[in-house]
Amino acid sequence: MTTRFFGDTAALTGRSLRHVTRSPDTIITVTIMPIALMLLFVYVFGGAISSGSDQYVNFLLPGILLITIASSISYTAFRLFTDMQSGIFERFQSMPIARSSVLWAHVLTSLVASLISVVVVVLVALLMGFRSGAGVLAWLAVAGILILFTVALTWLAVIAGLSAKTVDGASAFSYPLIFLPFISSAFVLTATMPGPVRAFAENQPVTSIVNTIRDLYTQQPVSTDIWIALAWCLGILIVAYAFAMATYHRKIA
């Protein structure tokens, strides 16, 4: 059964990856907004923001990457929803395959598509003057956190894709996720915010993730933020996975 799971997941992942590579416009749509935000904040608003670092793009990048991932996973919900609408989902369900591989294929595809988008955004940031002297280990840690964040949000997207009634509904769930970084330490230091907003900003998942990534590539000692960030990601991952699987089994029962 496990060999069947891996074989089926590989075959189905190959299929949905083709969906990504054959519509490269999805990568463009995903990256265009974070890149535009980055240009806007670095070249327009950046002068008015005191971030405590000489290069504002260095300060800004982690938040931009999270926005990139959040908008990328809305396509995962979209692809899953489209599958369910067309007959192909039922065809897979009536075949002798490992049933969960249908979802895992979408999750892996989501991860690959998000990482491609993240790489594109990082390249643009490099053009805009982003520099880091961090070593391989620090970058691996950054990659690990981004992957964990992507997988956690992807399982949220799976819930949305499985339970949505319309295409718009399938992708709309990601809007709050895209805007969450604005009320965090991603764009400005939380210390500048009024009390209640600051309390929210400092205690939502994005701030700890942003701070950890920023510390890692600016070669600062990593604070306890990393544990809070990991706890948030793992927590979201576990809860979203459980709900997604429950929704899935209700759908295919």
Binding site: R18, S86, G87, I88, E90, Q93, S94, A253
Partner: protein, 316 residues
């Protein structure tokens, strides 16, 4: 010596064959020689029927949806191996519900349903090994090419030499020219043919076709009919649902009419015709139907009817 089993009881035993088989065997032990040999022959033939068995057996099947009407209220039918069985009914009669239960997508509320000898409720994985579903809407991947769709199915069904199998099916369903195009560019008839071709990979013994020609133009319908007839020639059992009476008449060995959650008639076309009042002879001028006219004008057999094949000479 004990007396013979009364005639009536023998008949009952034969009708409900498999369940009463053991009872028959025990009766056999205490019979005189002549009757015993007769009954032995009967038991043997029942044995053969059990090992070959019906491909699909549905008994007292019930299903209702949450807060909704009682869709199936005790459906019974058997489908013999290698035959084409049509489930006929109007929209909302529950045809799709039956197919979804048979293909393990939906659980029955009550009743027994076996496909290829496996129970859909307790052995769904075995059922899935034996079936293929072609749903109401062409279940093809539009972004992949026709050939890629077939190869994906072959990989999922663990068929060796996927490329070869795909190419054979493309040729059999006249899709070779379109093999490398994305399915999004296919006509309705081509999609359906690809859909059915995808269902054949791995040679499942039972195939479900849920309204295979709904929404197709007359030529595409004829193409699909040809495919279905060929399936039965290859020994595949086909259960198809349709709301078109002529489709059932064209294709099926047996036809069952599903109405308000029950099978209200089940038999061959000839048997069903006997349900009607006796035949009257009337002289009526035979007018061509609009379909006849359409097909005559457009160029009948549907071979060169697809977008992709259009303009190809007839002397190909």
């Amino acid at each position: 010596m004990r007396s013979l089993v009364p005639m009536s009881e023998r008949r009952i035993s034969l009708d409900a064959a498999p369940r009463n088989l053991n009872r028959l065997r025990s009766l056999l032990a205490g019979l005189d020689l002549d009757a015993a040999s007769t009954l032995h022959a009967v038991v043997m033939s029942i044995d053969i029927r059990m090992t070959t068995g019906p491909a699909i057996h549905v008994h007292a099947l019930e299903k209702s949806y949450k807060d909704e009407l009682h869709v199936l209220r005790g459906v019974d039918f058997d489908v013999a191996r290698g035959s084409i069985f049509a489930l006929l009914g109007s929209n909302g009669a529950g045809k799709t519900t039956v197919v979804r239960i048979l293909s393990t997508l939906l659980r029955p509320d009550a009743g027994t349903v076996t496909v290829a000898g496996f129970d859909v409720a307790t052995q769904p994985a075995d059922v899935r090994e034996s079936i293929s579903l072609t749903g109401q809407f062409a279940a093809v991947d539009e972004i992949l090419t026709g050939r890629e769709n077939l190869i994906l199915m072959a990989r999922l069904r663990r068929v060796k030499d996927a490329g070869h199998v795909a190419d054979d099916l493309l040729a059999r369903f006249q899709l070779t020219d379109a093999a490398k195009r994305r399915v999004a560019t296919y006509s309705g008839g081509m999609r359906r043919r690809l859909d059915i071709a995808m269902s054949l990979i791995g040679n499942p013994p039972v195939i479900f076709l849920d309204e295979p020609t709904t929404g197709l133009d007359p030529q595409a319908r004829i193409e699909v009919w040809k495919c279905v007839k060929e399936l039965a020639v290859h020994g595949t059992t086909v259960l198809l649902t349709t709301q078109y009476l002529d489709e059932a008449e064209q294709l099926a060995n047996r036809i069952a009419i599903l109405h308000e959650g029950r099978i209200i008639a089940n038999g061959t076309l000839a048997e069903l015709k006997q349900l009607l009042p006796p035949v009257k002879v009337e002289y009526v001028e035979k007018q061509p139907t609009l379909e006849d006219v359409f097909l005559a004008v457009v160029g009948a057999d549907g071979k060169d009817a697809d977008a992709g094949d259009r303009g190809v000479g007839t002397n190909k």
